[in-house]
Symmetry: C2
Subunit: 162 residues, 2 copies
């Protein structure tokens, strides 16, 4: 099978495509700070969305930590819509914006809805910021959860794999 071209709706986001890996640092008022290794994959199938998946492992012993999977859309130029599922029983719907830069782009997302299964830890809202500059992807994530207001949680720097 030949690879279809990137759909025009998401072609402005093509700088995200590929597999990215690197390391990050997590913190939150209710937990001990921790380091992690991460792999993120953005793919496409010629349709008006990008597929997204990520997983992290603890920097100290390699045990699996977190994973997410979902889809990214751009319903209008510069606009983003993202839906994500977490294995902890959390579903995120995010809206936001992106701007092209010389080396890639800057993306800002905020949840418009967070819904949880009964056994999930309570998450109220998330803010995600991504910056792509060439083959480097940096992101930060802030979270309002377990009764706390929006608070910095994650920061990582990833490199695009060859």
């Amino acid at each position: 099978m030949s690879m279809p071209p990137v759909h025009p709706d998401v072609a402005p986001l093509a700088f995200l495509l590929g597999v990215w890996s690197g390391t990050g640092e997590g913190e939150y008022p209710t937990i001990e700070p921790f380091g992690y290794e991460e792999t993120v994959a953005f793919g496409h199938a010629g349709k008006p969305f990008l597929s997204y998946g990520q997983r992290t492992a603890a920097a100290d012993d390699g045990r699996p930590l977190h994973a997410e999977t979902g889809y990214w859309r751009s319903p209008a130029p510069g606009r983003l819509e993202v839906v994500l599922a977490h294995p902890t029983g959390v579903a995120e719907v995010l809206g936001g914006t992106f701007e092209a830069t010389a080396g890639g782009g800057v993306l800002d997302l905020r949840t418009t809805a967070v819904t949880c299964t009964p056994s999930a830890k309570e998450v109220t809202a998330l803010e995600r910021r991504f910056e792509v500059d060439g083959d480097e992807l940096r992101y930060t994530l802030a979270m309002a959860a377990v009764g706390l207001p929006m608070t910095h949680h994650l920061r990582a720097v990833l490199r695009r794999e060859a």
Copy 2:
């Protein structure tokens, strides 16, 4: 890397594991009936959830139709919690039950929350039923959407790939 054992929480769902493929039929009062080919994959990583992904293609010309991705959990014996993301901008949180049978199991799920991005088609609620009997997986899906009450939408029969 050796494969970790299935986590005890989801070991009773191990009959779902694998890659399944087959055909289905879709209908809804607002659309023309259609046939589709489908691949479903259930995986695990030794953690207390199963990963889930599926994609369908039109039976007539093979064009990609739909996809979903998410995670399945069992927080208590016989209980199910599922979170799914759709590339159409829909996030599903489902709750339900499952029962073991001689050849596998029967699973019944209903959405407890459906959230959508602004550009998504309005989906209000979904009901999903899965029956696994040996290497055959049958499912039906009903949907309340675009102002209509819960109405049958999809039916498929899949076989576990070797």
